[in-house]
């Protein structure tokens, strides 16, 4: 089926190719739509290029840049920085741990093979209990979708309102929003297991719980651990940003110093933040490798030997030591993340949360309020689309020189031997990589603050901020994808005399375009979530309304806003799935 449609579309494209018409109705319509969308987004965002090229903009930019250097390295401030770093890390660890605790049972409850379809339910299909169980598991899946759809910053805001300022709110927000993400990933991992062992267990007479523990879990465990560690990195990143809504950690300090125009302090904090991210990346990569000792080392016998020695002779003692260390790290994380006894007894956290949630029901569907949301929804969409386009443009331009297979001479090839030329290419390559890394490692909310300083409050600042951050993320992905394209066809093109640009157009692009498109779509979906919250710091869109209604205590309206965001995210998933991915797949 798939190959048939592939062949058809290829033939169609080729007829077009042969016909010599560059302009066909389909291409024309696509271009007109694209231009229309761009113009509409441009209008809604209130983009005025004149503001960018004004003298005051340049002045603000130079003040900002001069303020950023030198970073504030005074002892007193460094103590604040280190405390903020510690609480951010603790929030990340505690948040990940809690989200795993919530996600595993929810994922198990939503796994289709246990409750809905397949051999395990074939026997009692159709009776009332089985139908109810299937419905319940679907409901759990939808609940996970809801947890995921609400951006983590909104969760942060909700928990700050419910339990007060500080890391505790941040940890809870991370726990809930990452439970949604992890739950979905775990459920997918559970669904991907080989069903035959499960059938064997069923015939032995195992219960569902036993089948899960002995059949599904062992098979899914590698995926689960790998993704959990990956999400730990994301959690630390998110923990740093949650401070923007008052949920503690380094984000709070960054937003404070930006608002007080203490750019030198902001610079120190950003540097510390980047350092924290780099070290969590390194630690999680190391953990991943030690948990899966054979991954990626198959061809290195020495490493393998060392690993087997490590896992062999020192096993019991080392294991016990590891458990002790892990327990100590977890306990102290929870302590620094605000899980102290007085905090819980004083604030009546649970009671507060229940009261807060109940006040969001029923959501406010008054006509005036809902209609008033229309422009904000459009603005949010426009910010995400235009921001993604800016990101694609800048990221794409930077990705080309950051692709080593395009810019750097191949090892052992006779090309470019002069030292100066090699040096020039090498420095272009590394500076574009550096630019991408800087763009990427500064969180989008910090970009919003920076853009607001330079071009003023409003949706344009949000758009630009999303664009800059997206440029870094997509540019790096683009460059990596282009580098991972199978090398041999590319070598062949080079051998017949193709220049780098031709290698890109005829060798790399055709092989990579599907991946590039799918990364871009996924990023747009993320950006829609981000643009829904930019308003919290003054970047336009729905976020402003969320912030206002929380400040004013209109919790029923808050409920409506959450539903609207949920709808928007579902819409973006749908657009990504049905329109883009299908057209990309053929």
């Amino acid at each position: 089926m798939k190959t048939v449609s592939n062949a058809n579309s290829a033939a169609l494209d080729s007829e077009l190719f042969l016909s010599g018409r560059v302009w066909t109705p389909r291409r024309g319509a696509a271009l007109v739509t694209a231009v229309l969308v761009l113009v509409i987004c441009w209008q809604i965002d209130g983009v005025r290029l004149s503001t960018v090229f004004q003298r005051s903009t340049a002045g603000a930019l130079s003040t900002l840049l001069r303020g950023l250097f030198p970073p504030d390295l005074s002892f007193g401030f460094l103590r604040i920085v280190s405390r903020a770093l510690l609480s951010t890390l603790a929030t990340g660890i505690a948040g990940t741990f809690l989200s795993v605790l919530i996600a595993i049972p929810l994922a198990a409850l939503s796994t289709p093979i246990l409750w809905r379809s397949g051999i395990l339910v074939a026997a009692d299909e159709g009776n009332l209990g089985s139908t109810l169980r299937a419905a319940a598991s679907r409901a759990v899946l939808a609940f996970l979708g809801f947890l995921r759809a609400i951006p983590d910053l909104v969760w942060g805001l909700l928990f700050v309102t419910a339990v007060g300022l500080g890391s505790l709110a941040g940890t809870l927000a991370l726990a809930v929003s990452y439970a949604g993400v992890l739950g979905r990933v775990y459920a997918d991992a559970f669904a991907d297991v080989d069903p035959r062992p499960l059938e064997a267990l069923l015939t032995i007479g195992a219960t569902r719980g036993q089948i899960f523990l002995r059949g599904i879990w062992p098979q899914a465990r590698p995926t689960v651990t790998a993704y959990t560690l990956y999400s730990f990195e994301c959690c630390v990143r998110a923990a740093s940003v949650l401070g923007f809504v008052g949920a503690g950690g380094i984000g709070y300090e960054i937003s404070l110093s930006m608002r007080l125009f203490e750019y030198g302090q902001a610079m120190t904090l950003i540097l510390a933040f980047v350092l924290l991210l780099a070290s969590t990346d390194a630690v999680s990569r190391r953990l991943r490798r030690s948990l899966q000792p054979n991954a990626g080392q198959a061809e290195n016998p020495r490493l393998l030997q060392r690993n087997s020695a490590r896992h062999g002779s020192f096993k019991p003692a080392l294991r016990r030591a590891r458990y002790v260390v892990a327990a100590a790290v977890l306990t102290s994380s929870f302590y620094f993340a605000g899980f102290t006894r007085e905090h819980f007894s004083d604030a009546h956290v649970l009671g507060n949360m229940v009261r807060f949630c109940s006040r969001m029901f029923p959501p406010d569907f008054a006509k005036g309020f809902v209609l008033g949301l229309g422009p904000l929804v459009l603005q949010t969409l426009a910010i995400s689309i235009l921001g993604t386009i800016i990101g694609i443009a800048i990221g794409g331009l930077l990705a080309i020189p950051a692709t080593s297979s395009l810019l750097l001479a191949q090892p052992d090839s006779p090309d470019v031997r002069s030292v100066s030329k090699r040096g020039l290419r090498w420095s272009i390559f590394w500076s574009s990589r550096l630019a991408l890394n800087v763009l990427r490692s500064i969180p989008d909310l910090v970009w919003v603050l920076i853009c607001i300083v330079v071009i003023g409050i409003g949706p344009f600042a949000g758009t630009l901020a999303i664009g800059l951050h997206t440029a870094g993320v997509l540019g790096k992905l683009y460059a990596e994808t282009l580098e991972e394209v199978p090398r041999q066809p590319v070598e062949a093109l080079r051998a017949l005399g193709a220049e780098p640009f031709q290698v890109l157009a005829w060798g790399l692009w055709p092989q990579a375009k599907r991946m590039l498109a799918s990364y871009t779509i996924v990023r747009w979906e993320t950006n829609l979530r981000v643009s829904a919250i930019l308003g919290l710091v003054g970047g336009g869109g729905l976020g402003q309304a969320i912030y206002n209604n929380i400040q004013l205590g209109f919790y029923a309206r808050l409920g409506t806003l959450l539903l609207v965001i949920y709808g928007l995210v579902m819409l973006s998933d749908w657009i990504g799935d049905t329109l883009f991915r299908r057209s990309v797949a053929t």
């Binding site: 191949q410 017949l496 060798g507 055709p510």
Partner: protein
């Protein structure tokens, strides 16, 4: 194009280990000559070809085309030289997601300007299209021109690689094991196609082969590579069994395996 290789050595560093792929190889190929390279796997044939098409730099010694050393050429000159040398790679090395027609058009890349390349992404020039269609016709792939390269069978991919080289209109054709994965009938067809293309354009043709009989049948000159060294360089009518015994000496078993396989293919018409 007159080729000359003088005393070439090529070392590869894999990890910390140094592997010598070629050592002390010298060879002169006058323009228009047809030449077969024999040798078991790992003898250095692919390395020799990569030196000849200017994608690899020798560790020592020189590779010259028309008297000009690749090592002293600028990037632009190298590209010009590569344009004049067409390579048919062992693994075909086609761009899998492009159609046959587009892969054939890739042969033009060396002579297209930047503007033509940009234009060609949407629609290539009429003459180029005509030529590409003709090249596909020559190799018998007209009905497959809109199929993606990765949907073709091994033999079809091989012929598509030849079509790309035809499109390139090179002065030299290097073919690295062009019949490695084909049955006997198809192998004959491909080799005679290559020889025909070579003779028609008075092109130099250098082909690496596993199968001794084919080399002796189609090529006036045969060289033997063994463990990175030149073992013999003879007119094909003077190549005798003892020379081949010497070449495949250490790999006699493999030579026998290949012969067995040939016999199997002859008798049953398919590969094992």
């Amino acid at each position: 194009m007159n080729y000359s290789i003088e005393n070439v050595r090529k070392d590869f560093f894999v990890g910390r280990r140094n592997t010598r792929a070629l050592d002390g190889v010298s060879l002169a190929v006058p323009a228009g000559e047809h030449l077969a390279v024999l040798g078991s796997s790992g003898a250095g044939k692919t390395t020799l070809f990569r030196l000849l098409n200017a994608t690899l730099r020798p560790t020592r010694g020189s590779v010259r085309a028309d008297g000009c050393d690749f090592a002293v050429m600028s990037t632009a000159e190298l590209r010009g030289a590569r344009r004049r040398i067409g390579t048919i790679h062992q693994q075909h090395n086609l761009v899998p997601s492009l159609t046959s027609l587009q892969n054939t058009l890739c042969g033009c890349l060396g002579r297209w300007s930047m503007a033509q390349t940009v234009r060609s992404i949407f629609h290539p020039g009429a003459t180029d299209l005509q030529e590409a269609t003709h090249a596909l016709e020559l190799v018998g792939l007209t009905d497959k021109r809109f199929s993606r390269a990765d949907e073709l069978s091994g033999g079809q991919q091989q012929r598509l690689a030849i079509a790309r080289v035809l499109m390139q209109k090179p002065e030299v054709i290097l073919a690295d094991e062009p019949i490695a994965s084909l049955d006997r009938a198809l192998a004959d067809e491909i080799i005679s196609l290559l020889v025909r293309v070579g003779s028609e354009g008075k092109r130099t043709l250098i082909v690496a082969l596993h199968k001794v009989e084919l080399a002796l049948e189609y090529f006036p000159r045969v060289i033997g590579l063994g463990e990175g060294r030149m073992r013999f360089d003879l007119p094909s009518n003077t190549v005798h069994e003892d020379v081949l015994q010497d070449l495949y000496g250490k790999h006699r078993q493999e030579a026998r395996r290949i012969q067995d396989e040939d016999r199997f293919q002859r008798e049953f018409g398919c590969s094992r």
